[in-house]
C-alpha cells in the first residue's frame, strides 16, 4: 500500500493514541544503520517517558513527519536527528511527538536491539566512514 505520509501517519498516530501498538515500515535512509528504510518494520506505542536516545515519530512541521532519534530534551523542546544523517537537527515540542519505537524487526522476523545508541550519537565525526562501510557491506 503506497499512500502519502500526510494521509497514513495521522492514522497511525490516532491508533497509537488509542493505546494500540502499530507496526509499519518506514522509508528513507536517515536512520541507517539502525533502521533500513523500506525493509525493516518498527513497532510504535504511545510516546510516554521520553528520553534522550529514544527513536520517535514526530511532526516537525505541519504534515512533515520524521522517524528520528531524540538528541536532547529541554523543557518542552525536543531535538531530533536521524542516525544516518551527518548533520542537521530538527526541533519540535513534546506534543508533536506522536509515537515511540519499541521494537525493530528485519524482514526475516529477527529483532534488532532498540538501544539509546549512546556511542553512535557521540561519534558524529566518524559517521561518514562507518556509513560508507555499512553501505558497501550490509546492503
Amino acid at each position: 500500500m503506497q499512500l502519502p505520509n500526510e494521509i497514513f501517519i495521522p492514522e497511525i498516530a490516532r491508533l497509537v493514541n488509542e493505546g494500540k501498538q502499530v507496526i509499519f515500515t518506514p522509508t528513507g535512509v536517515s536512520m541507517r544503520p539502525y533502521i533500513e528504510g523500506g525493509v525493516d518494520n518498527v513497532t510504535l506505542v504511545q510516546p510516554q517517558n521520553l528520553a534522550v536516545g529514544d527513536i520517535v515519530l514526530a511532526e516537525i512541521a505541519p504534515q512533515h513527519f520524521v522517524l528520528h532519534r531524540i538528541y536532547a530534551l529541554q523543557g518542552e523542546t525536543v531535538t531530533l536527528m536521524g542516525d544516518g544523517n551527518l548533520q542537521g537537527e530538527e526541533h519540535c515540542s513534546r506534543s508533536n511527538v506522536l509515537a515511540k519505537v519499541t521494537a525493530i524487526h528485519s524482514p526475516k522476523g529477527k529483532s534488532k536491539p532498540v538501544t539509546k545508541a549512546w556511542l553512535w550519537r557521540h561519534m558524529l565525526h566518524l559517521r561518514r566512514i562507518v556509513l560508507k562501510i555499512y553501505r558497501h557491506t550490509c546492503i
Binding site: I7, E11, V22
Partner: protein, 93 residues
Amino acid sequence: MKVIPGFALRPLGNEYLLIAESVDLVNFNAMITLNESAAYLWRNVADKESFDEQTLTKLLLAEYEVSPEQALEDARKTIASWQDAHLITEAEL
C-alpha cells in the same frame, strides 16, 4: 456469508482502510484497502446476519450503472477477495 466482527472502515485519501479495531496490535503493512465501490458494499453488509453474491449484485445495481452480468462478476470477485483476506466467514445456519 457474514462479516467477521471487529473491523472498522476508515476513509484514507481516495480509498478506505479496514482496520482491525478489536486487536491491540495493528500491522499497518497488512492493512486492507477498499476502493469506493467495495467500501459501499462493506458498509451495507457489515451488519447483516448473512449475505451472498446476489446481495452484493443487487447493491451494485442499485448504486452503479452496470449490467447485471458485470455486477454479478464484480460481486463474485469481491467475495473471493474478502475470503482471501479472511474478512468474511460462512454464516451460521
